[in-house]
Symmetry: C2
Subunit: 200 residues, 2 copies
DNA sequence: AGCTGACAGATTAAGCTAATCTGTCAACCA
DNA sequence: TGGTTGACAGATTAGCTTAATCTGTCAGCT
């Protein structure tokens, strides 16, 4: 069942992890535009060239950083979903609420949102947000398909992408409280979910 | 049925219209950050103070400009919806497709999207996008309630807001073609609409 | 009601040089 | 092989100063 990860992959993974963690620490202290690649490399105890070797460019690294931080939230979402496998509608609500609440309170997210401008990280979630949407959609799709195997894959993906886009929209421009937003969105998506799961 | 608009309102409306039109012309030629309030006033044949009197500040004017330009798209959406009053699902698809296609081709929208940064107009659709979402939601809600009077107002509004947020998301970060996006979104929302209209 | 002129405070343009950063080498070590 | 070092051109930014411009708000004039 468990194939031990061969050393090269493990080392590579550790390298990436260390670099991204170093970057996260920096980002919490000052805007992304002021953080240099050299500083990140040094903070990770690695040479600048190793950083470039692993992540082709500054932008690619920023992309990876945003996604890496996103993992934390998606993990929380996964957990929330798995706690409501018996009630898809509650699962959607819990997932969105969990995401909106944890993301809304996260200092790093707050920085990311306030750090407007081309130089910041925000464009990677909005204007150039496709890779993030793509990634989050795939992860969420997997979660859904795992929780409800009877769901048709295309519908699972459609639901996942919509949830991702709505989640991003509500984090960047919140209207109601996380709970209210989650409840309303759950209400909207429930009929689709019922139909997708064959519970007409 | 038609109460003639009293002069004061008409004059005020004309003033706003003229100023916003002047601003639109400028925005098509160079970034918003380089356009001054004085230039807009002059281009409209009006003094700077009149501009400030009508729109409190530069940001408020920018807000109004974005919404004013949005009117064009919402008008197109209204038309698209009214052509499918017999088929709500087709109406949603047509509305979204119309919006995404016209907005995607619009030079002003392209400029707005490429003009990243705090100084540009983009934040008014993303980070500080609530007023725009609010406004578009209200307009679309009205359209829906007018087309399908039997729809419960809260559900109409929920549908409208979701459509608005998804539309903005898909303009700023397009995944598929407008047609495909519209079709998929229509598929997702159809069950909710059926239920809201009592056609279980 | 709208224009003019004037205002303080803040921001930006312009000019320049020195410093720094990115991205990519080749050469060097474990 | 996977990592480090050092060096590199080209582009970007930091710093600094001064002059210019812009915003937002007056009061007074038409």
């Amino acid at each position: 069942m468990e194939a031990r990860t061969p050393y090269p992959q493990a080392a590579r993974q550790l390298l990436r992890e260390t670099l991204l963690a170093a970057a996260r620490d920096e980002v919490q202290q000052r805007p992304w535009s002021e953080i240099t690649m050299a500083e990140i490399a040094t903070a990770a105890g690695v040479s600048r060239q190793t950083l470039y070797k692993e992540f082709g460019s500054r932008d690619e690294f920023a992309q990876a950083l945003v996604i890496h931080e996103g993992e934390r939230f998606l993990d929380a979402v996964d957990t929330a979903v798995r706690e409501h496998l018996d009630d898809p509608r509650a699962a959607i609500g819990a997932a969105l609420e969990t995401f909106l609440r944890t993301a809304g309170e996260d200092p790093l997210v707050r920085i990311l949102l306030s750090d407007d401008g081309t130089a910041g990280l925000l464009p990677f979630v909005t204007t150039q947000g496709m890779p993030v949407v793509e990634w989050a959609t795939s992860r969420l799709t997997a979660t859904i398909e795992q929780g409800w195997p009877q769901a048709p894959p295309p519908k699972a993906r459609l639901l996942a992408e919509t949830l991702v886009r709505l989640a991003i929209s509500h984090v960047t421009a919140p209207a109601d409280s996380p709970e209210a937003t989650a409840a309303r969105t759950g209400e909207l998506l429930a009929p689709f979910v019922d139909e997708a799961l064959g519970r007409k």
